[in-house]
């Protein structure tokens, strides 16, 4: 056991003093950045004080109570079905595309590092960087209003979300089994099916179910941009300032999301 000499003690104290100094400097810098950004964002600082009162007033007097009778109309319930269909189709076909992309985009087992890897990475990053709602707006200009554009937007969302998670899971596998399969003279496809897939299957199933849950959440709002589903009625009601009936639709959305979350939680629990 070493004794703490005075010199060593002074050294530690000095190091601690410097680290405190740098913490202080970075805090001051962050504070300056914060003050500058409030100015840069043009935030009306004089309104912040009364802000919560106004939000509360809005919520209690104009949004409440949610008009559930309006929200239970047959055409809205039909759009609920459409929303579910869109989310299932988007998650299903998106997963079909995300599986090969995840394989190509995993650095350790990708069949081709100079072409397929950057291509798959690029597709996943592009799909991920642009939010689903923006994809929906872009795709509506190509394919017209309706749920088809929404399904395509959800496919993009799935590639970005599930594709990234799944390729990260592939990158974390045990490489010894890959080497063992490769040593038997297997080609890349065999390596994928016999060394990669068995190792990631459980994680991938969990990700696929979680991804459906995520896509379902976005599908409830896609109609806002004309891409099919429940969101269209939300937009209509807000456009005519019928806030209570809009809140009825929001209540339906929240209820559906809770159901889907419980469902995906149960499915994932049974899986493991």
């Amino acid at each position: 056991m070493t004794t703490l000499t005075l010199a060593r003690y002074e050294q530690i104290a000095r190091a601690r003093g410097w680290s405190r100094f740098w913490t202080f400097v970075s805090l001051v810098l962050v504070l300056c950045f914060g003050v500058w950004s409030v100015y840069a964002l043009n935030i009306p600082t004089e309104r912040i004080a009364g802000m919560f009162g106004r939000i509360g007033n809005m919520v209690w007097h104009r949004l409440m109570p949610p008009d559930l009778v309006f929200a239970m109309q047959p055409k809205i319930l039909a759009s609920v079905l459409e929303t579910v269909q869109m989310s299932v189709l988007g998650a299903f076909f998106g997963t079909c595309l995300a599986v090969p992309l995840a394989w190509f985009a995993a650095w350790n087992v990708t069949p081709n590092r100079s072409f397929l890897y950057p291509l798959a990475r690029g597709i996943i990053v592009t799909a991920r960087s642009v939010p689903t709602l923006m994809w929906a707006m872009l795709l509506v200009t190509f394919f017209g209003f309706g749920p088809f554009a929404g399904v395509l937007a959800l496919i993009n969302g799935t590639i970005g979300f599930a594709g990234k998670l799944m390729s990260e899971q592939v990158e974390a596998i045990d490489m010894k089994r890959v080497e063992a399969i490769r040593a038997t003279g297997a080609n890349e496809v065999d390596v994928f099916f016999y060394a990669v897939l068995p190792q990631v299957r459980a994680n991938w199933m969990g990700t696929i179910i979680y991804n459906w849950d995520t896509q379902f959440r976005s599908s409830t709002i896609l109609g806002f941009m004309g891409a099919g589903g429940l969101g269209l009625f939300l937009r209509q009601q807000i456009a005519v300032l019928e806030y209570p009936s809009a809140m009825g639709i929001v209540a339906i959305i929240v209820g559906l999301v809770l159901v889907s979350e419980a469902l995906s939680h149960q499915l994932r629990k049974r899986l493991y």
Binding site: R54, I55, V88, V254, V257
Partner: protein, 269 residues
């Protein structure tokens, strides 16, 4: 019957009934999917108006970026980044007390504060950021302020949930030691719980900053500031070359943000 099916059906390691049931489940699933494809895609799309591949390529050519527009989107992109920053900061401040209430082991009261904390988390996690933004824009007017509040309300649930889970998994030792010394619940939280959850907490905050950057970019579609506002304007005025520029600028921003966040998280964890 194809040879492969025969082999699978006669797999001696499995009960044939299980195999048949599995095939039936897959068939039912595919049938359901094809019904949905017919219902949603084949019947709903106006195939005549859609035109052929040539027409789609023509639409795509409208989106070729117009780089002279780029200087005008630098400021909205920066605004998006700042909105994400402030939204996350606010969410962290609000999530602290919520996580304190929603962690089963340190919540002040099991039947009062615990359900409140849980309900806040569920509400925040199950409401889309656009819905929050709509409410705040209606109450506060256009601009980045409602956007920041929407981001904060939306990511509060994630930060509070992960923090509460981290708190539930802490080592009891330091907590008991402090309680034995007569420390108040707040002191226990600050000096026995926080140091233990700090690494996981920091990682989650950076992760939600990254998510909020992407969320912030769509809030402008409902008038809450940022790049989405410019995007919606360009879409509505059919200036698709500008839309192309915005999309590429956004991809650049998000990729840069993700790169930095990965670096920082790797250093913290």
């Amino acid at each position: 019957m194809p040879a492969s099916d025969q082999i699978l059906l006669s797999n001696p390691l499995r009960d044939p009934r299980t195999i048949v049931r599995r095939y039936l489940a897959i068939a039912a699933g595919l049938l359901l999917i094809s019904w949905m494809v017919k219902d949603v895609v084949i019947d709903e799309v106006d195939w005549k108006r859609l035109g052929g591949t040539a027409e789609l390529l023509k639409t795509l050519s409208y989106f070729v970026p117009d780089w002279t527009f780029f200087p005008q989107i630098v400021r909205p992109l920066l605004e998006t980044l700042l909105m994400a920053f402030w939204g996350t900061l606010l969410a962290v401040c609000l999530a602290m007390p919520v996580a304190f209430m929603a962690a089963r082991n340190i919540t002040p009261h099991r039947w009062v504060t615990y359900p409140i904390g849980r309900a806040l988390i569920v509400l925040s996690r199950s409401t889309h950021e656009v819905i929050f933004a709509l409410i705040y824009v209606a109450a506060l007017g256009l601009g980045p302020l409602p956007g920041i509040l929407a981001l904060a309300s939306r990511s509060l649930g994630f930060v509070a949930k992960t923090t509460a889970e981290a708190i539930e998994n802490v080592n009891r030792g330091p907590i008991e030691a402090m309680e034995a010394a007569g420390a108040s619940p707040l002191a226990v939280f600050l000096y026995a719980v926080m140091p233990q959850v700090m690494p996981a907490f920091a990682g989650n905050v950076i992760f939600s900053l990254e998510i909020n950057l992407r969320r912030a970019s769509i809030l402008g579609l409902v008038g809450a500031g940022g790049i989405g506002y410019v995007f919606a304007e360009a879409m509505q005025s059919l200036q698709y070359d500008r839309v192309g520029t915005i999309v590429i600028g956004l991809i650049g921003l998000v990729v840069a943000g993700e790169f930095i966040s990965n670096r920082v998280r790797a250093r913290i964890l």
